[in-house]
Subunit: 397 residues, 2 copies
C-alpha cells in the first residue's frame, strides 16, 4: 500500500490529533491543521438551513488569510441554542491568542451529537498539548481525530506536474465519513491543503467544480448534515508562478484537486456504516449534466436499489422505477441498463446469463451503467448497499 | 369492529376476487369491480415516466362511461416490452366482449413483478368464474385479490348526508399497500365507488383534492411505482340531485371522499412492510400549503427519523436535519418540535421528562408535531418506522 501523508504532504503544513475528552475513553477527538504561512482559502458548506456554529464561523472568515483549522468530533455544535455562538467566538479568540494569531485566521469545524453545549473548556485546556504534537507526522492522528463512525481514517495526496521553486506543487487531504448512519454523528468533513501559489478566485472555482463531481455525488442517506464542510488551504510555499483562471496550470491544478476529492468521496461512500458492498452508478446519454447527475444520484440513493445490491440480485425493475420517478429527460424506449458489465435492459427486458450475473453481483464492487438515450452528458455517483446493520446501528441511541 | 362493505357498499356495485394462477398456490390474484349502470369516472395515476400498460389503458379511457375495473396482482405489466401493449388491448377487448360491453368501458390495473409478460391467457380463461362470483358480498375477496405484500385487506365505506331517491348517497373503497418493500411488487392501488349522481368535473376535482391530502401524503420508501392508480366510479344510482362544483353538496361529497381516502392511506402507510410502528407527522406554521406538505413528507420519509422511531428514542436532531435539508421557509429560531405531545425543541433544546418521553415513544403510534413558525399552513403526513425486517424482505428476490 502507498504510504499516506495526507494534509501534511504539501510544503509547510503541520497537523496533530489528540483526545480532549469529548468522546471519552481517551479516543482522539480534536485535530489541528496548521500552516507555517498565511493561506489563501476556499470552502464549501452545507446547504442545510440548520447550521453548526463552527461552520457559521468558518463561512464568515473563509476569505482568509487563514493559518489553521481546528476540528472537534463528538459534538456537532449545532441546534444547541444561541449562547453557543458566543462560545464559538470565544473558542476562535482564545485559540488565536494562544497561537499569537488573529482569531479570523482560525477556521473551525465540528462533527458529532446535535444539541449539546460546545465543550469550550475541554478544548482550550488541551491546546498546549495540541501545539506540542504539531508535526509533519501528525497527519494520521489528525485524520483519526476527525472520524466518528468511520471504520478507518481517509487520506490522500498527489504531486502535480506544475514546477515550483524546489519541488513540484503538491496537494493533500483528509476526510471523514458521511456514515449518516449514526446520524446524530452524521457529517462529511474534508480538509485539503496545497503549497500552490494560486489566486483566490482560481482556488474557489477549482474547489467548487471538484466538489460538484465528488462529494456532491455520494449518497449514504438522503439527508444533508448540519455540519458538512470542505475547506482548501493554499500557502504558496511551492513558489510556483501564481495560478490564475483560464491557464494551463489552472487546468492541471483543478484536475488534480478533482482526483483527490473523488478518491476521498469514494472512500466515504464505500465506508457508509453497515455497508457490505460499494456501488458505482455511471450515467451517460443525459440531456444535460444536471439530468445525468440527478439520475445517477437517484439510483445510487434508492433504498430499493441499495437493498437489491445487498441481496446481490439483478433487479433492474427497481432501477427503472427510480429513474422514472425523477423529472430527468429520458426516452423510455431507448434506456439501456447494464449490471457489472452485462446488458439487462434496452427499451425492453433482455435475455442475460443468469448464473454469470449472479456471480458478478455477489462481489463487493457493484457497477450500474445507465444510458438515458437523450443526449451526451455523463455523471458518476457513488454509494453503498442498504443492510440490516444500517438499521441496527441507527435505531440505537 | 365495524362490518366492512368496501366497494359494494354504494348501490349497484358488485365485486369478485379469485385466483387465475399468476401468484400460484391458489392465492387470489384477479379482482373485478362491476357497476350495473354506466359510471362517470375520475382517476389519478403515477407520475413515474415508466408506466404499466394497464395504467396507460385506464388513463386513456378514464373519461368513461365506465362499467368495470379488472385488476390483477402478481404481474405489474410494466417495462415488459411493446408487444405487451397489444396484449393489454386484447385483454380489454376480450373482457368487453365477454361481458357484452365496449372495451373502452373496462378499466385495467396491475400490480406485481416488473418486466414479465402479461398473463393474458390465465386471465381470459378465468373470466367465467369471475363473472359467476360477482356479488355484493364479493368486496372482501376483491380487496384480498389486489393485495401483494399487505398483511391485511384494506376497505372503508361511508354514508353521506346527501339525500337520494331511497337512501342517502354512499361511498366505498378498497386499497392495497405501498409496501414498496417488496418493491418489484411495489404499488399503491385504490378503487373507490359511489352511487352519487355527480358531474364529471366535480368528481375529478373532488378526487384530485382528496388524493393530495391522503395518498400523496404517505411514504414508505421515497420511490414512486410504475403502477400507482386511484380510480373513482360514480354510477348515479342514489338518484340524488346531480352534484356540481361550488355547491353545498359538493363540499359534503368532497369531505366524505377525503375522509375515506385518508383512512385507506393511513392503513397503507401503517402496513408498510417490516413496520412495527405508525408515524404521523403534523406540520403547522407553514408559509404555504406546499411548504407544509413538503416538510411533513420529508420528516416522515427520512431514513434517519424512521430508524429513530423504530428505536423509540427522542432524536429531535434528526428531525431538524431533515427539515433543514429542504427549501421549506422556516425560522430556525422559532421552529418548535413535540414528540408524542411533549415539547423538545423551541429555537433551542428544551428540558423534557426523559422517562416519560421514552415511555410514550415505546408505543406503537408515534406523533411528531412541528411548527415551522413561518405562516398559517398545515399538513399531515403518514409513514412507518424503518426496521431490519424491511431490509431483510427487500434483499430477498
Amino acid at each position: 500500500m502507498q504510504e499516506k501523508y495526507g494534509v501534511t504532504y504539501p510544503e509547510g503544513f503541520l497537523a496533530a490529533g489528540i483526545s480532549c475528552g469529548i468522546k471519552g475513553n481517551g479516543k482522539k477527538d480534536l485535530a489541528l491543521v496548521f500552516s507555517e504561512k498565511d493561506c489563501v482559502s476556499a470552502g464549501c458548506f452545507t446547504t442545510n438551513q440548520f447550521k453548526s456554529y463552527s461552520l457559521i464561523w468558518s463561512q464568515k472568515h473563509i476569505r482568509g488569510p487563514i493559518r489553521a483549522v481546528l476540528v472537534n468530533s463528538g459534538n456537532a455544535n449545532a441546534c444547541n441554542g444561541p449562547e453557543n455562538w458566543t462560545l464559538t467566538r470565544e473558542l476562535a479568540h482564545q485559540t488565536g491568542k494562544f497561537f499569537h494569531l488573529p482569531p479570523s485566521s482560525i477556521l473551525l469545524a465540528s462533527t458529532g451529537i446535535i444539541g449539546r453545549k460546545l465543550p469550550l473548556e475541554n478544548i482550550l485546556r488541551t491546546l498546549p498539548e495540541l501545539k506540542k504534537n504539531l508535526s509533519v507526522d501528525g497527519h494520521l492522528d489528525a485524520a483519526l481525530a476527525i472520524t466518528t463512525t468511520d471504520t478507518h481514517p481517509k487520506e490522500d495526496q498527489k504531486q502535480l506536474p506544475i514546477p515550483g521553486r524546489k519541488k513540484k506543487v503538491s496537494l493533500g487531504g483528509m476526510a471523514k465519513g458521511a456514515g449518516m448512519i449514526n446520524p446524530h454523528l452524521a457529517t462529511m468533513l474534508c480538509f485539503l491543503t496545497t503549497d500552490a501559489c494560486i489566486h483566490q478566485q482560481a482556488l474557489s472555482c477549482a474547489l467548487k467544480n471538484a466538489v460538484e463531481d465528488s462529494f456532491n455525488m455520494i449518497t449514504v442517506d438522503n439527508d444533508r448534515s448540519t455540519n458538512d464542510t470542505v475547506i482548501l488551504l493554499a500557502n504558496g510555499l511551492a513558489g510556483n508562478r501564481t495560478i490564475h483562471l483560464e491557464t494551463e496550470e489552472y487546468e492541471i491544478f483543478a484536475q488534480g484537486l478533482k482526483d483527490i476529492c473523488r478518491q476521498l468521496a469514494k472512500e466515504i461512500a464505500y465506508d457508509g456504516e453497515g455497508a457490505s458492498k460499494s456501488l458505482e452508478v455511471q450515467v451517460k446519454g443525459g440531456f444535460c449534466i444536471s439530468d445525468a447527475r440527478q439520475a445517477a444520484k437517484k439510483v445510487a440513493g434508492s433504498n430499493l436499489v441499495k437493498a437489491a445490491v445487498a441481496g446481490g440480485w439483478p433487479n433492474w425493475g427497481r432501477i427503472l422505477a427510480a429513474l422514472g420517478s425523477t423529472n430527468v429527460r429520458l426516452k423510455t424506449s431507448r434506456v439501456k441498463i447494464s449490471l457489472c458489465g452485462i446488458d439487462v435492459y434496452h427499451g425492453q427486458p433482455l435475455l442475460y446469463p443468469e448464473e454469470e450475473i449472479k456471480r458478478r453481483l455477489s462481489g463487493r464492487q457493484i457497477t450500474i451503467e445507465i444510458d438515458l438515450g437523450s443526449g451526451q452528458a455523463q455523471a458518476v455517483a457513488w454509494g453503498c448497499d442498504l443492510t440490516e446493520e444500517y438499521v441496527r446501528i441507527n435505531r440505537e441511541e
